[in-house]
Symmetry: C2
Subunit: 186 residues, 2 copies
């Protein structure tokens, strides 16, 4: 399964394209392997040569998007990761802009019936961003629990956002977050 074999690159391109096409028609959970292969014009056996299920294809997209999320908090940007509540400013919160950028994809992630695996992948990515924050050094107590608590709290906001059809702007969401976080600081 040589990753750079032109044949592999081509078929994966076809399947990726086919998935985005099918996603316009129906939810991920109702897209069949057979259907995907027909759209991609590849043999069903070829699909099984690379993947196990439709979700695996989606996962490939997802990995790229998780990289974008992590990158957006990498140097040299030094965006605020909302751990330093005292100096927290809505303008420095980047995560909601990232979600807006990939709104279509996150609509799939959070949609009913899809596997919780995507949720966990997102959860872990957010957690990683938090853990890399310089201010995370100062956290005392059980670290894993704290980061899981905080990461999932942010995602709770995003679930609410999703359920409202992502109508609020990223800026609104940043303000919501800052408002909630500053509450404990009085």
């Amino acid at each position: 399964m040589s990753k750079h074999d032109l044949r592999v690159v081509k078929t994966k391109e076809r399947i990726h394209y086919a998935l985005t096409e099918c996603l316009k028609e129906k939810p991920l959970s109702r897209i069949k392997i057979t259907e995907l292969c027909k759209t991609a014009n590849i043999n069903r056996g070829t699909f099984y040569f690379h993947y196990q299920e439709v979700g695996d294809v989606f996962m490939e997209f997802f990995e790229e998007i998780m990289e974008d999320l992590k990158d957006s908090y990498e140097e040299p940007y030094r965006h605020n990761v909302f751990l330093d509540v005292k100096n927290l400013d809505p303008d420095t919160v980047r995560i909601f802009h990232h979600i807006k950028k990939y709104e279509d994809f996150y609509s799939v992630i959070f949609s009913e019936k899809v596997s919780i695996s995507y949720y966990y992948m997102f959860f872990d990515a957010v957690k990683e961003v938090l853990e890399k924050d310089p201010h995370s050094e100062k956290i005392d107590g059980p670290r894993d629990f704290f980061f899981s608590y905080t990461s999932n709290a942010i995602i709770g906001l995003i679930i609410e956002w999703y359920r409202r059809g992502f109508r609020d702007s990223a800026e609104d969401m940043s303000r919501n977050l800052v408002f909630i976080l500053k509450k404990g600081e009085r």
Copy 2:
């Protein structure tokens, strides 16, 4: 589909029993409808008469468990719902005991590959408990966002707990939560 028809009661009993049996053998995601029907000794057509997929059966169990969660915060218990941070005491936090009580089920809920629907059902139940708390009156700002934030934060703790195989005691978890919450109160 008369809910109290003895025939319906019987077949549902059989299917419920079959599901618990199958869950001992393999994860929910790999249990086939055909298999479930064979174990339950019912016709496959009968299954489709009541459900669409295996997950729907599991959902029925789940609904009962969500009722238990809500009940555990109903009158006359008046357990603390961690919104009143100042008077928060680990002994009054009930949710982690509820999880421990149904540990096997929550192990399914949080396991990879299962539908995110269960997660949302749990999320909504936790949120409902929070919203019914007397102290929720005092919350200012966007309420939905606040409750989604807080509910999912708790669930973040539980995810971490799950990933550690629920080894910590419910009391440990209550202490973890109180520790995190009190941090902002200094």
